[in-house]
């Protein structure tokens, strides 16, 4: 079902509407003037933190704003295929043979919005502050042992261990030490960075306003004069705002409204697969799912292909391994081979396997899912399949986040036999293996308690192996076992999707949800 609506001109609502209402209500004509600027009105899904300070900010909505104000030494390329694109850095990092020392030069011309040069001291400060101030971001830089400003434009990181994925750390935003040091409390209320947009103001719960920094040091100046962010949590209200011209771009087109937006006369969808992974996981610690045969039986009770097709597409795609497509492409992983591993639905086969494993028909299954429609649908499919396989005692619970997070990693059979969850990380295989399967993270981010020492060793070794080909082999070997043992049943990945009005040109979606590319090496958004 889709609405076929007459095309609405941008701001027609605000302009003509104000005039009409002023005439009707106040008895005079007072239409709003079109000042001819070309600001972009971007509607996010969720609200911001109190401070727009990358040292303390935690969460995607704030990061999306910060990414316009601040820059990192590097950023991801257009496809997030793990290739670093220098921003403040003057080239590739120099990495020592043992992988422990990373030396990075800074561009001479790089300056902050207050006119100061970007220096090695600023970089050192930006990476040390989260640990010194014990902010929520401290864990992201805890592999750094020390940072030295070799000279004004050269910084040297020494790591505690050869952390192979350090290139995903050096994309962090750099703040000017002179502005923030001693002013930590207020810096996030009038932020200063080196990015192409500078801070104007914000109103809690209503909007954040940025304007183009006309003296931007970089090669390309943005086409748009500024960007105003607001947020609307209700999906249909967001989509309506795009329809009526109240928003130029909206974040996240939900699957049930995908066709509506696609068929709009005045808008289209920009999307790219995120750096994410959604899955069904088993409790391998206690209960029947500790037995690989039972996990295989569960794989037979439903069709993940059908579930994803029905409940996730077109807002996402089927994924057969823990690695999103960008990682698969960059690392040349054998995705086709992994796609052969899951079974099609076969209740007879499932029943036979349950019997062989000695699972009692009266067993009380317990499946928990977080408050998310897509993940709920996957869990529900498994629940229905178990009932078809002759189990009458299947509890399926959609829990609030707070409750879910308390339960999903306990390893207790009383809390769950299975759960659905997702993981979004950096474009490095480490993000989708170490956090989800490493034994040292059992009870933290690993709720499976899958104990296979060989796989664990491969994952841990791959973290510290500087040689990419050797890492690749390790990850393939570990993943083969994980998939064959059905620790997880990989499910899908979602698109980072945006509804974009037709008068907005060159808007593109990035695989990292924190990045809204407005003026980059590969695009320059304009509002016509």
């Amino acid at each position: 079902m889709s609405h076929q609506l007459p095309e609405i001109t941008r701001r027609g609502l605000l302009g003509s509407g104000a005039a009409v209402s002023a005439a009707a209500i106040a008895g005079c004509i007072g239409g709003s003037s079109d000042d001819g600027d070309n600001e972009l009105y971007f509607t996010q899904e969720k609200g911001w933190a109190y401070k727009f300070d990358p040292i303390v900010a935690n969460g995607v909505p704030t990061a999306q704003v910060n990414e316009q104000i601040y820059e990192g030494l590097y950023t991801y390329n257009e496809d997030a295929t793990n290739s670093l694109v220098p921003v403040l850095a003057d080239g590739e990092p120099e990495v020592s043979d043992d992988g422990l020392t990373w030396t990075i030069g800074i561009k001479d011309e790089a300056t902050f919005q207050n006119g100061d040069d970007v220096t090695a001291e600023d970089v050192k400060y930006s990476f040390e502050a989260p640990v010194k101030e014990e902010t929520e971001n401290a864990a992201e830089v805890n592999m750094i042992d020390s940072i030295e400003a070799v000279d004004d434009k050269t910084v040297e990181f020494t790591l505690k261990y050869p952390y192979a994925a350090f290139n995903t750390v050096v994309i962090a935003n750099i703040v000017p030490k002179s502005e923030r040091d001693g002013n930590e409390k207020d810096f996030g209320h009038s932020p200063v960075g080196s990015g192409p947009f500078q801070w104007v103001e914000w109103e809690d719960g209503q909007y954040v306003l940025l304007e183009r920094w006309d003296d931007y040091w970089g090669e390309q100046s943005p086409n748009i004069s500024g960007v105003e962010f607001d947020f609307v949590t209700e999906q249909s209200t967001r989509v309506t705002g795009l329809e009526t011209g109240e928003s130029d771009v909206i974040e996240t087109v939900p699957p049930q409204l995908w066709e509506d937006v696609k068929n709009m006369n005045n808008a289209s969808i920009a999307s790219s697969l995120g750096i994410g992974y959604f899955y069904l996981a088993f409790n391998c610690n206690e209960g029947p799912t500790a037995d690989p045969q039972v996990r295989e039986a569960v794989d037979y009770v439903f069709s993940m292909d059908d579930a994803v097709e029905s409940f996730v597409e077109p807002a996402g795609v089927r994924q057969y391994s823990p690695f999103p497509q960008s990682v698969v492409d960059a690392w040349d992983f054998p995705a086709d081979q992994w796609a052969e591993i899951p079974h099609d639905r076969d209740i007879d086969q499932a029943t036979q396997l349950f019997e062989d494993a000695g699972v009692d028909k009266d067993y009380a299954w317990n499946i928990i899912v977080p408050p998310d429609d897509m993940r709920e649908a996957i869990g529900q499919s498994v629940s229905n399949g178990l009932k078809e396989a002759g189990f009458n005692n299947v509890t399926f619970e959609r829990l609030e986040w707070g409750t879910f997070l308390d339960l999903y990693a306990t390893g207790s059979e009383d809390d769950y036999n299975m759960f659905t969850l997702g993981w979004s990380g950096s474009p490095d295989p480490e993000a989708f293996t170490y956090y989800l399967f490493a034994q040292e993270l059992e009870g933290s981010t690993n709720g499976t308690y899958y104990s296979n020492d060989e796989v664990d060793q491969l994952i841990m070794d791959a973290r510290e192996e500087p040689e990419q080909e050797a890492r690749r082999e390790m990850y393939i070997e570990a993943t083969n076992t994980i998939l064959e043992d059905r620790v997880h049943l990989p499910a899908y990945n979602t698109y980072n999707s945006y509804g974009v009005a037709n008068y907005v040109s060159d808007f593109t979606s990035h695989p990292s949800s924190a990045i809204i590319p407005l003026s980059t090496g590969y695009n320059n958004v304009n509002v016509e």
Partner: protein, 338 residues
């Protein structure tokens, strides 16, 4: 007891009630599984880091100690800082930002309800069992039984999307300075235009939130007016040949308002609750959305802060109702022995 003393006494009485509400909500919220830090950090590594953040927000202390500390802070006017909803922001500031939006919405919804419901109820009672009465009763029945979010969505589809008459979201404060604020008000040239924008933005959410109140007040107004018009003193007035219009205006209207005032007074807190859905549908970030976010994200200071506001609003509604009773009906006393 004078009206002033009575009001003061009622306010004093309200304090222990408010402390009671705070106590119950504090322990209830803390009893829900999950805590703000696990939600803030999501599934993330580093037990050490989680412990540090918990300590930072004082969440590692026993719950009774946190309760006592909280009460002490509240007594000093400090409602703490938001943990998740707007991390680091003082709750007082957060409430001061969001409360005007919800008050504007709620008060205007009530104004809409009263202005439409009272005449409708009176006309309905006057023309009892005539077509006008049937229409009014059907309208109020639909109003009572239709979910407000559905009304809101229908209004958006018809008046915002198809007819392009009203905006589909946001509210504009009428006192916003022209040329400042969001994209809606930044283009305005005059205060008159801001007021016009404010009204246009307000109309759809106001009708959405006010419809239930309107329907309830209409029904109560009609039934009490029907009863009043049957009273002996009204019959006597009719016998004296007093016109029907004068009877309603001078003799029947005031006494018939007592139950209506009860509905309005207690409806104030109900409307604040109803604001949650209306604010969600219209993308308005007011108190309604704030308390929901607070509960979902286990943001204890936000939940407690909004509870205080909701509790105070409820108590104010009750006190105003009681005082209005005494004002409208001289037979109602201020509660002392004479």
């Amino acid at each position: 007891m004078s009206l002033l003393r009575y009001t003061a006494w009622r306010i004093v009485q309200a304090v222990p009630v408010l402390i009671g509400i705070l106590t119950i909500v504090f322990f209830l919220v803390n009893a829900i599984p999950g805590d703000p830090v696990s939600i803030m950090l999501g599934p993330s590594p580093g037990v050490e880091q989680i412990a540090e953040v918990r300590a930072k927000y004082g969440l590692n202390e026993p719950v009774h100690e946190r309760y006592l500390n909280y009460l002490a802070s509240v007594a000093q006017g400090d409602l703490g800082e938001s943990i998740n909803v707007n991390s680091g922001m003082p709750v007082t500031k957060l409430i001061m930002n969001r409360l005007p939006i919800t008050l504007l919405l709620t008060v205007s919804a009530f104004a809409f309800a009263i202005v439409t419901a009272i005449p409708l109820g009176i006309i309905s009672a006057k023309r009892r069992n005539e077509p006008t009465d049937h229409v009014a009763r059907i309208v109020s029945l639909i109003g009572v039984s239709t979910p407000s979010f559905w009304i809101g969505l229908m209004l958006i589809i018809v008046f915002a999307t198809h007819l392009d008459l009203f905006p589909s979201r946001d509210l504009v404060m009428p006192w916003t300075e022209p040329g400042t604020g969001s994209r809606v008000t930044r283009r305005a040239d005059s205060q008159l235009e801001i007021i016009s924008l404010s009204i246009r933005h307000l109309i759809l959410p106001m009708i959405t939130l006010g419809t239930l109140q309107m329907a309830q007040i209409t029904r109560i107004e009609r039934s009490t007016m029907v009863d009043t018009l049957q009273d002996e003193y009204i019959k006597l007035a009719r016998a004296y040949g007093v016109s029907e219009r004068t009877i309603i205006r001078k003799h029947a209207f005031r006494p018939a308002q007592l139950p209506v005032i009860t509905i309005i007074g207690l409806g104030l807190s109900t409307a604040l609750g109803g604001a949650v859905l209306t604010e969600t549908v219209f993308g308005i970030n007011g108190m309604g959305r704030l308390i929901i976010q607070g509960i979902h994200q286990r943001d204890y200071p936000v939940v407690m802060g909004t509870t205080i506001v909701f509790g105070v609003t409820y108590l104010v509604g009750v006190i105003i109702t009681d005082i209005s009773y005494a004002y409208i009906d001289p037979r109602v006393k201020y509660g002392d022995q004479e």
